[in-house]
Symmetry: C2
C-alpha cells in the first residue's frame, strides 16, 4: 500500500490503495502519538481508556502533507498521524498476529525436508547465522546446531545466546542418561515415543534444547514429528476427533519426592479464532480422566486416532545426534522421541544434556537481529 | 464415598455410594497399574494407547477383597484395581482439575478481607507457615510477607523458597525505582493503573514478587484488584462485553534497544469449559488493533467498560508497602497498581525489587508440603 494513495474525508475515512478505510475515532484517540498520550522514549501509553471523554468524535481533520491532523470533540485534543503509519496500521482482517499459530508456520513431513535439514555449525551460528537458525525454529519448529563443543554445560550457553533458561524441578539443565533410580523414564535406556515435554506444567516450557555429549553404541536415535502438520491432517480427516481433543482438558501429572506437578489442558490448543496454537502429548504422564462415560469414550476414540497419526513412520524425521549436535525445538509444536539404546559393558554411555527456554525470548532476539540487519 | 459401597458387575459397573458407575474398558486398560503398564518407582506409563488391542473388552472380573481383578479380551491382560482407587477416580463431572480457574478460587472485594489480609512474617513463613502462605496465593491471589530483610537480592530468596525464578529481559530481578532514562513507565514516579505485567510475553510470568527496600516519602501506595472477581461481575452485568474480551486476541508489545516482544491473546482467557482462567490488562503496552471496523468498535466498547469496572475504588485493595514487605501475587489474576510518589530533594528514594516465577512450581511446593504434613 502506498501512503500517496490516501485521501482525506471528514470522518477520517481514507482511501488506501483505492479502497476506503475507516478509522474509528476511539481507535485513533487510543493510538494518539502525541507526547501527552505516548511516553517519548518508552513508546508506552500514558493514557487510560477510561480517560477518553464521553461523546468522543472527530471534530476536524486537516491535511498536513505527510501527516493528517485530527482534532477531537469534545475536548479539542489534537493528534497528528503520519500517513505512512495509518497505511501500515490500516484496519483489516489481520491474523492472530504474533506468529504462534499454524498460519505463521511452514508445516512439514520429513519428505519435505529432503533438500536439507535446518542445520548449521555453531561457528556459523556465532558468525552471523543466528537469525537464520532462530527463524527456522519459528518457521519449521527446530534447528540442528552442529559442532557445539561437547562439554557439560554448553547447552546453557546455547540457550543464553537467544533467550533465558527456564529453570524447573529438573534443574537449570538436566542430564539425559541412564540413572540407577530414575524418576522419569527419560533417564533409562528405553525407547520413548513421540511426546512433548512437561505437559504437567502450566506454563509448559515452549523451547527445548538437547545437546549430545556422547552417542550410544547402538540405538538412541532421535525422532521429530511436526505436531501442527499432524493436527492439520487430523482436522482434515477426522474433524470430530480434532474437536474433541481441542475441547477437553486432559489431566497430566508428575510426582517425585520433591515435586508434585499437575496441569489440565487440551491436547490440541487453539487460538480464539480456532487455529492450532499448541500441542501437548505425552503417554507417560497422563492421569486418569474423570469425566462422564460418554465423554471418556469420545476422548479415547480421538486420542487413539491422534496417537496413531502421530506415530506414522512417514511423519517421523529420524536423526542420529553425534557428539556436539544440539537440537533446539519448539516444545509447543514439535514432538520428540528416541529409540531404545544399547548399554553394553565397557561401552561409553549415551549422554545428552538438555534445558528449557521460551519462544517469546527467542522471537525477541530474532526481531532485534532483523531490525539491526535492515538498518 | 465409601469403598465398602462397591458392588461388582460383569461390565465393571460398580455401585459407588448407591449410584452405579461404569468404567469403560479402554479407560481401565489405559490406567492399568501392573508393572508392565506403569513403571514402578516413577509412576509413569509404559504403554501407548495405540498398543491397546483392537476389540478390547472386559472378559472377566473377579472380586478379590480390597481389589477388583479385571481380565481383558482379546489378549488376556490382567489388571488389579484397588477398590479405593476406583472410588477415588470414579468418572464424573469433574472441574477443570488443576486449580487454575475461577472455580477453584475465592474471589474477593477488599471489603471481604476486613478480617485480615493474607499476611505473615518472614520468620513465620520459614518456621512452618509456608504452606499457608502459598495456599493464600492460590486461593486469594496474593500473600504479603513482612519483615523480609530489606536487602538487595532477597526477593530472589523468597522466590527460590517456593519455586523457580523466571529470568526475562529485565533480568533475574529488576529494580523498581526512578531511572534517568526509563525503558518502562514503571521506572518513573508516575502513578501506574491496575495492570498485569508482561502481557507482551507468551508465556507471561504467572507469579510476580515485589519487595520493598525503601518506601517513598509520600505516595507510592500499592493497589491490588482481583481480576477474576471483576471478570465474574462483567459476565453477570454485561455478557456481550465479556464475550468480546474472551474472544478477541489483542496485540501487546514491548520494544527497547535489546528487546522486541509481542503477544496477541484475549484480555480474558477462558478454559475450554468457558471458565475464567486468566486476565491480561495493561494500558501501557497495547498495540494498535488491526481488525475490521465493527470488531474494533465492539472491542473498544467492551474494553472501556472493563477498564472502568477494574478501576472502581471499591475493587482496589490499598496497601502501603513498608521496607521489608514482600508481595507475592498471581499475575494471571491479580492486577497491581501504584499511586504517584514524591521525589523531594534530600528524601530517600522509593526502591522496590521484583522478580517473576510461576504458579506451577508454587503449587508443586504446596502439594509436597501438604503431603508431608498429612503423613
Amino acid at each position: 500500500m502506498d501512503p500517496e494513495g490516501l485521501d482525506l474525508d471528514l470522518d477520517l475515512e481514507l482511501v488506501v490503495g483505492g479502497r476506503p478505510v475507516r478509522y474509528p475515532a476511539v481507535w485513533l484517540r487510543d493510538n494518539c502519538p502525541c507526547p501527552e498520550c505516548l511516553a517519548p522514549g518508552t513508546g508506552q501509553k500514558l493514557t487510560d481508556i477510561t480517560g477518553i471523554p464521553n461523546g468522543l468524535a472527530i471534530a476536524r481533520t486537516e491535511d498536513a502533507g505527510e501527516s493528517v491532523l485530527v482534532t477531537f470533540a469534545p475536548d479539542q485534543h489534537r493528534s497528528a498521524f503520519s500517513r505512512s503509519w495509518l497505511v501500515e496500521h490500516a484496519l483489516g482482517d489481520g491474523a492472530d498476529g504474533d506468529g504462534r499459530t499454524e498460519d505463521d508456520k511452514e508445516l512439514w513431513l520429513p519428505a519435505d525436508l529432503d533438500a536439507g535439514l535446518p542445520a548449521m555449525s555453531w561457528r556459523g551460528y556465532l558468525a552471523g547465522g543466528k537469525a537464520e537458525a532462530l527463524e527456522a525454529v519459528l518457521r519449521l519448529g527446530f534447528v540442528l546446531l552442529r559442532d557445539v563443543p561437547a562439554e557439560p554445560g554448553m547447552v546453557l550457553e546455547v540457550a543464553a545466546s537467544f533467550g533465558y533458561v527456564r529453570e524447573t524441578n529438573y534443574g537449570r539443565l538436566f542430564d539425559v542418561r541412564v540413572e540407577p533410580a530414575p524418576g522419569n523414564l527419560a533417564f533409562t535406556s528405553r525407547a520413548i515415543r513421540p511426546h512433548t515435554d512437561n505437559p504437567y506444567r502450566d506454563p509448559a516450557p515452549t523451547v527445548q534444547l538437547l545437546h549430545c555429549l556422547r552417542a550410544a553404541g547402538e540405538g538412541g536415535d532421535t525422532g521429530l514429528v511436526d505436531g501442527f502438520a499432524a493436527a492439520a491432517e487430523l482436522r482434515a480427516t477426522d474433524a470430530e476427533s480434532f474437536d474433541t481433543l481441542a475441547r477437553m482438558p486432559i489431566p497430566f501429572g508428575y510426582i517425585d519426592k520433591e515435586t508434585e506437578l499437575r496441569a489440565s489442558l487440551p491436547l490440541i490448543q487453539l487460538s480464539p479464532r480456532g487455529r492450532v496454537r499448541g500441542v501437548r502429548f505425552n503417554n507417560r504422564s497422563m492421569r486418569p480422566l474423570r469425566r462422564p462415560y460418554a465423554e471418556v469414550i469420545a476422548f479415547y476414540t480421538a486420542y487413539r486416532r491422534w496417537a496413531a497419526l502421530l506415530a506414522r513412520p512417514e511423519r517421523q524425521l529420524s536423526l542420529r545426534l553425534a557428539p556436539g549436535d544440539c537440537l533446539v525445538f519448539d516444545n509447543t509444536r514439535v514432538l520428540h522421541a528416541r529409540t531404545a539404546f544399547s548399554m553394553s559393558a565397557g561401552e561409553r554411555r549415551r549422554h545428552l544434556q538438555g534445558c528449557y527456554a521460551d519462544l517469546d525470548g527467542l522471537a525477541s532476539t530474532l526481531a532485534v537481529l532483523t531490525r539491526e540487519e535492515s538498518r
